[in-house]
Structure formats: C-alpha cells, structure tokens
Symmetry: C2
Subunit: 483 residues, 2 copies
C-alpha cells in the first residue's frame, strides 16, 4: 500500500512541499506518479548530456525537488537554465546511491516549458545581497530569502486572524482614507484628486481654449436676435410650429451662453478660494488623508461590540530612513471594553506567544533558513518567547532596576530617572541582560503617554503597557481601556 | 450538575451570546452567577419603581439579555435610559411566568454605570432609517442593523482567510501606495505630501521671510571683511589662537551666506520644473497613487509561490454615486500558476459556496434579522447558493439563450448579439429566470475583456469567466492564468 500525495487544490499538480516536507523526505512515496510545476533553481547536464538534473522549486516550501529529465523528453540545454518554468509528469523514485534521503522525480513527460533568456535573467544561482534584490522586485520572491519572508508573513497574518477570532474579537474594517488625524501619531499623506483634475483641465484648456469676452458678447447678441425673431413671428401670428421652432432656437442660444460663461471662468491650476486651496472641489469635498491609526473608529465599535480589532494598512509620511520607519505597514489594533490593564497584558502576552508558537509549528523550514543565513539565535528566541512567562514590572520598578544597574557600573548614554521615556538601550538592558526574556512594563508616567490613557489612582501614572522583546525592543504597546 | 458558561477571554465577564444563543435559550444556566457588560437597549421601571427591567446588549449577538435590577442596587431612573453602559454581577434565573423561554439576570451588584444624557442621546428605541444613521457614525454600530453588518463582515472576512489558507493559497501584502496604474481599472487617488509641504513652507515664509538680495549682498561683504581680518592677523604674525578664531568667524560668515542663498531661492506654492509639477520633491520622489488592484504584484508572486491571493483595500476615485461604486473597498484577488480555466471556475464556485455555508453556520441570528427587516428571500438565496451546483455556460451559449428568449417574446432594453458585453438585465434573466441559481459564464469575446486574458484556440474568445448570482449580478470575475 502506498501513501497518497496531497494534491494542490484547483490544479492537477502536487505541491513540492507535500513530497519533500515529510519525515521520510518523500521516500515513502517512491513509485507514485506525480505532476509538478515550478521554476528551475539550478540544473546541470550529466552522463554526456544523456540526461539532466534539475532542482525545481514551486514556492510551496523552501526545499527543491530533484527532477531527472532524459534527453529525449526535452531540450536539456534550455531546461537546465536557472529561472526556467516547468510543468512535468513523472514517477517518484529513490536516488540510486541511497545516500540522499530525499525522493526524486523521473520525468515521463514535459507538459510545459516557459523558457528563459539566460543572458537576461538577473537572478544567479548564488546569493544576492537583499539590497540588490530591490532592483528585481518582480522576481525576488523566487529567492530563498524573499520566499521565506512571504511564507512567514502569510502564516503570521493568518495566525493573527485565528488568534483574535478564537479569542472572541470582532474584526472591523476601519477606513484607510480619513479626514481626521489620530492623536498626531505621525505625518500624514494627503489623498487628493485636485492635482490630476487640474492637470486634466489644463490639457483641456490648451486643446480647447476658453471663450474670450468678445466670444461671449457675440453669443449674447445672438440671443437678442433670436428673441427678436420670436417676437416678430408672434406679432406676425405665425403658426404654432414656427414659433415653437424659434423659441427652441432661442433656448439653445441661451444655454450656449451659459456654457460659455461657465467655461470662461475656468482657471488653470489647483482651485483656490480666499487665498487658500478650495477643498470643496476635492473628491471628498474636504481635505483627506491616509489613516495613521484605526483607533478612533475602533473605539466607537468597542462601545457597541465590546471586543474588536483591526488589522490593515497604516501610513506614515515620515522622512525617516531607518529600519523602524515605513511609509506603509500593517498594524494590529485591538480594543476591549470592560477590561482592566491586567486583561490587556494577558491578551498581549498570549498574542505574542501564539505568533511564536505558530512560527515553530508551521514555518520551521523557513526559520531554519533564517537561523542559518541571517540571525543565528532567532529560533532560540522565538522558542523562549513561546514557552516562558513574560516578566511584568511597573515603570517605577523598571527605573529602579536601571538605577541599580548604573550604581553597579552599567553605563547608559541616556540619564536614568523617574519620568524619562525609556530609551532603546534601557529596554535592551531589561530584556537582554536583566530578565533575558520578554518584559511587560506597565503604569507609565502620565506625562510620557497619550492623553487618553486611563489615569491610575496614584494620579501620577496611567494604565499603559509596552511589551519589550530581546533584540527588538517594543513590539506592542497599550491597548485602550473603556468603561 | 450545571453547565458552565463560556467566559469572554481577557475579561471577567460572560458574553451575552453564550447565555442567550443556546438551544435552551439559557434556561439550563439558571442558578449560575454571571458578570455581564453592555449597553441598555430599552429599560422600564416596574412595580411602583421597586425594580427595573433592562434589555442589555453587548454586541456579541443581536439578542439582548433581560436584566432585573432592584431599586436598592442603583439609580433606576438612570439605568433605564437607552444607551446607558452597564457592567453588573448577577444570578441567572428563569422568568417567573414561564412564558418566555429565555433566561434573565437578577442583578446582585452594579459594578459600573456609564451614564447617558437622554436629551442628547440620538438613538431612539425605535428603528432609524439607515441613511439617517450616517449622522451618528460613532454610535450606529449599536443599532441592530449595523451590529449585524459588523458581525457578518467579521465572519466573512475570517471565512475568506480560512478558505484560501486551507486551499493552499499564500496571502501576499500587495502595496496600497503605488506608482503604477493597473490596466486603467479606474480613476486613481493621488497620494502626496507636496501640498502640505507647500503650506508649511508658506507659513514659514510669512513668519520668517526669505532674505532680500540686499541682505545677501551685505552678508557677502562680511565675508570679505572677515577675510581681510584673517589676512591682517597673519601678516601681523598674530598668535595661532587669534588666527584660528578669525578663521572660524570667516567660516561662519561663509556658511551664513550659503544658508541665506538657499532660503532666498524658496518659492511659495507647489514646486514646479519646466512648467510642470516637480514630483522629484514629492515624498516618493515621483507621482504616487492609491492602488486600484494588487494584480501586478500578485502576478510576480504567483510566478514564485504558485498560488497566491491578496485581500485588502482598493481605491477608486470614480465620481459615480451608485451602490456599486465605493471610493474604498476590500477586494479578494487570487492568482494561480499551472491552472486552467476549469480550475479557476472550481475555485470561484467553492469560494462562493464556502462563504454562503459560513453565513448559514455562523451568522443565522443576524441573517434572520435581515430576512425579517431588509430582504425576505436572503436566507433562501444563500442556502440555494451554498447547496446547488452552479450552472456553467460559455458566453456563446449565453447569447444563444438570450436570443431564444427574445424570440419567445422576452423584451430587453439592450440588443442581444454575439460580441456584446452582457448587460445587467441579461445577467438577471440568466440567473433569475433561466437557471434560477448562480451561473458561471466563460470564454468571452476577446474584444470585451482585458488584453492579458489567455486567448483560446478559436482565436476569438479568451479564458475569462464571471460568476453571476441572482439579484446581485457579477460577484466575481476571472482569476488570471499563468504558465
């Protein structure tokens, strides 16, 4: 009895993942037929060009499937080129030498070849710097690193939906175009049709210039003339038909003047009123921006559905070119009614743990790639975050710990005293040195947090919290509390 | 033995749904303690103000929980007001008369009251027109209709993620800000910081006018003077210190002139170059827009990960005020490599069926509200779409059926012949009269579909398909095919 292979839904092919990512490396599938599709990562001819070995990847996982094509099945010279698109039918078989664990595919029929011009294909077999890949945005998802990023983003996005859905949160589509600023969270992008409308108008005015005053005056004379025509016909007791026709002509000439007057008022450029831009002529009849946060809308939904969240794009027009500043990014924003700061911290900790556990359960192959190539300790840190209870300390305790560290000789660039905004170096000391695990800091001085945070009974601190994580810093800030 | 009640996660309260939406209406929970929170829908005092009945809703479901508060537990006059926010501890009990099936909550302790000013609270107990609710966007999620819409949107959004995840699609975050138009799918919103930067500059120039030519000239004279100072000190063999100080002064005056010259060039208004707007000074150093489709980005990911989709906001600046035109809406876009049109139709049909079945399984209470108040046949149509195989006909067959209908006396406003774009009345005839179920029309004339659709072997039609649904029309168009 053979194990059956999981088919791709809505295709006749088998995802390479379901062959390769098995505990037995697919060896239990030997002897089975499979159709696969993908792109050649590397290829080489062998045995005096009698056949070729191809490493095929279909993006379903990081691993490639080894494909063996004999010379009578296709143009081997073409097939071995990196980037070639290939769909084939074949039989899975164990490698002959028995050294490799993974199963291979012996091609019976080449169904489709998407050829590649090797002189133009920009992705080599070897690794390119990520920065250079920016020049090949349309192809970079085929690289190991970007493929892994794409799969992990997909899994974490799905896990986020799972977590909040299963925790009873309702997802709210907060708007992306907004007329309100949110707590001045950042510089906003303006959304407008004024410029494109002005450009259209400008082209139109060049092609078809507005009537001059003289044009309008002569058109007005025509009205007068036609009016006279009607009067004459009436006094001459002309037929109803004749008078009707003349009245219609008169009407037409009046409409014509109205249109001309309208057009003669047209001004090139962005419409102005009282020396300012006239936003009443913009698409939404007012100034509009891209959202910096869905918080305002979520607050009103939290006061109706109790427990809500949003997960969507957010926009900041900050001219900061650091790895922490993006013009466009996705943000999770939960809002809970009838909850205390403790519930908030529980939710934050559970969410971070859920994400970490999801990575370990569903993305191990890609995480291993990152551990190998980018960040040696990433799997260890994720595992630790998934399993270890987070430390929870008040801001006051955090400042005490930092002050103690300074007394014991630790040097910080930023002075430590109650009331400061914790600097990145302080956060790193707490998570990386003192606790060596994620730390939730809560009850911050009211002066350094937003005005809408709930004031604690001490009248000095507010019910806010931040989750700090080793090597990253703050990954999650306060959810808001309503009653 | 009592049944336990599902608690809200990250709160001490119980969602009203878990009390009321049970087959026994919660009667099996009688005798149990529960903390609930929510907003009063209606309230009335009874038995000479000895107690009050409140209908409490927390948005977890459409149904309210009846709350009984005795006069010694709170200010009944306040509590009965529609919109009052309330968190209470109590005991669930069966209604005394045994007529109602649903359980009630006898309040033991009022934990929190968010008072309402009845003279200002805009939502009455009775139903308001949806159009009027637009004026109370911040409160309308508390109404039955908008609450139901919010819960259904949440469920369908989650079901979409589930469907594509479980079908092996990878979710791709396609960008919302883009510099490319997508097949001219619609009018685009421009994203810019040029206007706000120009406004900032204008304010700055008023507050702090740029230097005049005379200012710059006199600043240049100072350079000359300071240069002379240095020369004099040098020839007088002054101390190194003295010369150094003079050189520093000279340097400062040079920098000052540079800054002044820079400022004197500042022009109010949007920056221009060669008579056009100078987009090199915009945030992205080029003209940028909000996306009308993630298709271009998805295509490149489909050619790396094989099977991908996006689900995010899309923007169209069309000045059409119909129920079919939105400036901002969410769209699902799947792209599949190595798939044929048949797979595409299978996927589309399965997706629509999955959504419909999800509604029936998870949203019945809210669907019943819509069937009762808005659209009598909505549940029947959803059920039919979930259970019945869709009809599948080619465009050519569709035109034949329409032509036959015309022969049999059916009148259409739009002429029917091969090559036309099917009008809404044609689609409705096919789904509502001819088949009385969803219909997939495929293989359209190449002239009426986008250039990138795959040309069929007949060289006349392309591998495109649309899903038509009774009462709605097209709800889903072609996914693209790549090889």
């Amino acid at each position: 009895m053979t194990t059956s292979i999981e088919r791709v839904q809505y295709s006749d092919r088998v995802p390479i993942r379901s062959i390769i990512l098995r505990p037995d490396g697919g060896s239990g599938l030997a002897g089975q037929q499979a159709r696969v599709g993908g792109w050649v990562k590397t290829g080489r001819k062998a045995d005096k060009d009698a056949f070729a070995f191809l490493e095929l990847n279909d993006g379903s996982c990081a691993s490639n499937l080894q494909i063996i094509v004999e010379a009578d099945r296709g143009d081997l010279g073409q097939l071995v080129l990196t980037g070639t698109c290939l769909q084939v039918d074949g039989v899975l078989k164990l490698p002959p030498d028995g050294k490799k664990q993974k199963v291979e595919l012996q091609v019976q029929k080449v169904i489709h070849v998407g050829v590649v011009d090797a002189s133009k294909y920009p992705l080599p077999k070897t690794r390119l710097p990520l920065e250079l890949l920016r020049d090949y945005v349309h192809l970079r998802a085929r690289t190991n690193a970007m493929g892994a990023v794409a799969r992990i983003r997909d899994e974490l996005s799905y896990a986020t939906k799972r977590f909040f859905h299963e925790s009873g949160f309702r997802y709210v589509n907060t708007p992306n175009i907004t007329t309100s600023d949110c707590e001045g969270a950042g510089e906003m992008f303006q959304v407008t049709t004024l410029i494109s409308e002005a450009e259209k108008l400008e082209k139109n005015l060049i092609k078809n210039p507005p009537p001059s005053e003289v044009d309008v005056e002569s058109a007005k004379l025509i009205i007068k003339q036609r009016g006279n025509d009607v009067a004459q016909l009436k006094s001459a007791k002309a037929s109803k038909q004749e008078i009707g026709a003349a009245v219609a002509e008169l009407q037409k000439s009046k409409e014509n003047v109205l249109k001309m007057e309208e057009r003669s008022k047209l001004q090139p450029g962005i419409p102005q009123k009282d020396g300012k831009i006239d936003y009443s002529q913009d698409f939404f009849a007012r100034q509009a921006f891209l959202t910096v946060s869905g918080q305002l809308q979520l607050e009103s939904y939290a006061c109706a559905l109790s427990t809500v969240y949003t997960f969507g794009p957010t926009f900041r027009a900050e001219k900061s070119h650091t790895s922490r500043h993006l013009a466009e990014f996705w943000m999770v924003e939960p809002e809970m009614a009838f909850a205390e700061l403790e519930h908030d911290m529980d939710c934050a900790e559970d969410y971070v743990k859920f994400m970490c556990q999801w990575l370990l359960d569903h993305c191990m192959e890609d995480m291993e790639f990152f551990a190998d190539k980018i960040d040696k300790s990433c799997i260890d840190r994720i595992t630790m975050s998934a399993k270890t209870p987070f430390a929870r300390i008040t801001y006051t305790e955090a400042v005490e710990l930092l002050t103690e560290a300074v007394k014991n000789g630790k040097k910080f660039e930023n002075h430590v005293e109650w009331g400061i905004d914790l600097a990145s170096e302080h956060e790193r000391y707490l998570t990386e040195v003192k606790f060596q695990k994620p730390v939730i800091v809560y009850n911050y001085p009211k002066e350094i947090k937003a005005f809408y945070m709930r004031l604690n009974d001490d009248s000095k601190t507010v019910a806010a919290m931040d989750v700090l994580v080793p090597k990253v810093g703050i990954i999650l800030g306060t959810l808001n509390l309503y009653n």
